[in-house]
Amino acid sequence: MIKGLQNFKVIWMSLTLMLLPFVNEAKTCCSNDNHSHSLFEPTCDLCGCSTSAGSFGFGSLKNSNFVGLRYIYQNYESKDGIFENSPISKESFNTYQIWGRVPITESFYVSSIIPYQDLYRTFQDRVEHINGLGDMNVIGWYQFTFYKKQKDAEVVFSVDREPSGHRIQIGIGAKFPTGAFEEELTDRVNPGFQLGTGSLDGVFSLNHGYSGSKIGVNTTATYYLKTANKNDYRFGNQFSLASNVYYSFPKTTHIIMPFVGVSGDFYNSIEQFGEILPETSGESFSGAIGSEVVFNRFTIGANYTFPIQQSLFGDNVEAINKLSVYLNLTL
């Protein structure tokens, strides 16, 4: 099988084929309801509880093995009410994560993110603040490394195969309800203002990385299968797609890798008691810009994400921007 996959064209075709159902999902998940009014309190877990969203990535650009610390800052504005002239609340979320990716065998890895959430929401007359452990995830990855095809006429001086630079990783894991979910908070605008979703969710991810001598491309597609929590509240399934292109500038003591990227997130409607709550789906497209610096065994990264186009929950929630910085120790 692996030999077959070495054929690059086959790889791309199968990748596209595998992603196709997801794309379909993305298109149908957010088709507009027949509701003519677009006034409703939005609910999603993108904002607060699930900052381990695919658009942030599960690892550094080169997907090396590491353990590290990451800080993510997110900024949102939500309507505090169902009307056009309802007041706005500003949300700022601080997430502190311990994250890492460790090898188990040559092809099998495990990554995990353990977040701590510190969330603020400012209304016109008061400030709400919740903090605590968030939902952690554990994902097992299987990596396929691709090697250059040997030409018949070529003379090979080594026994080892040369990696072509392409890599595919398939990840299957779960997000655990280690963060608290408060049902009262769902009564407000943006019930994403939670420490956790209270549910055990499935995470399925597909990552493709190409690292050449200078340029690299890192693409991840992730599908979240959400389950209902103890309040029979089920966040909608989510599909995220992110792709970053980086360029290496090797220096004597370190390598600088600036990158740019795009990402898209698609959210299905939320259900409670098995019924779809109207106007709780959403989608957003963002751009990202940042850089990693690798020196010794450390990688420092910074990533600034800005929205390009979004329609979150009847346009009642607006993502303003996100910033993340991380420090990893390569294993």
């Binding site: 409703f40 169902i82 009307f83 056009e84 002239n85 009564d187 209902a228 029979d232 409670q272 709550l277």
Partner: protein, 250 residues
């Protein structure tokens, strides 16, 4: 394997036995088009070049009925089923019904105003409502009857440049005119009443429908409409069409 086990974890068994009774809140949220209705200060666009500032919005909600997913209908006892929703009184906008049988409700029906049957009961069963209506200014003195809908304010237009008062009072008139209307709406997701769960049915009333509903009204034509054989029923139809269930919160 992990995925499969996760999936199987999430499957629910819907064999809940529903007993007892609880409470449900019906919230009437007054709006003007997409905006929250703000009395006196905000200026809203009405028909043609008319702009209005609203100083009073009051209406009578009555005979509330709830239908559950099996088709059973719970009727709020008639003597407890008359309410005055007043924009200037926040408490009046949340109607709390108690001793409601626990069930999953999918439809709500209520009347706007007072039905003829109630009048013909005389004082029997008017209970406190007559007094409440008097206090709220929802009774016509010259006619022993209730005002179902009160809509007052000031308006200007290209033809009327100084602020002029307008007032629409709509009700039934004796036996001649029955302007009581019944409104029925399906809930997008069920309202689950249990002994320990009190859902809120959040209804939005778009007051712009009064002047710009099935019949368009220009205040320049008649800023005061109290009794009108033709216009009062049209106002009743406009107003009964201004409601929608915005959402249900369980």
């Amino acid at each position: 394997m992990l995925a499969i086990s996760i999936l199987s974890c999430s499957s629910d068994d819907n064999e809940e036995v529903i007993t007892g009774s609880g409470s449900i809140t019906v919230e009437f949220d007054n709006a003007y088009l997409d905006s929250d209705l703000l009395l006196n200060t905000s200026s809203y666009n009405a028909s043609g070049t008319e702009k209005i500032k609203i100083s009073k919005v009051k209406y009578i909600v009555s005979n509330i009925k709830l239908e559950d997913e099996d088709g059973h209908v719970y009727v709020v006892p008639k003597n407890e089923s008359y309410f005055i929703v007043d924009e200037s009184n926040e408490d009046s906008q949340m109607i709390e019904l108690s001793d409601v049988p626990a069930a999953n409700y999918t439809k709500i029906t209520y009347g706007l105003g007072v039905d003829q049957a109630k009048y013909l009961e005389g004082a029997d069963g008017q209970g406190d409502f007559l007094t409440k209506a008097q206090e709220a200014g929802m009774m016509w003195s010259w006619q022993a009857g209730y005002k179902f809908f009160v809509f007052e304010g000031l308006y200007t237009s290209d033809d009327t440049t100084t602020e002029t008062a307008f007032a629409y009072h709509m009700g039934s008139h004796g036996t001649a005119l029955d302007n009581y209307k019944e409104i029925s709406m399906t809930l997008a997701n069920t309202a689950r009443v249990r002994t320990d769960m009190t859902p809120i049915v959040h209804i939005v009333a778009d007051l712009s429908n009064t002047l710009m509903g099935d019949t368009e009204f220009k205040l320049d034509d008649a800023p005061q409409i109290h009794v009108d054989a033709v216009k009062s029923p049209q106002i009743a139809t406009n107003v009964s069409g201004m409601f929608m269930v915005h959402h249900v919160h369980n």
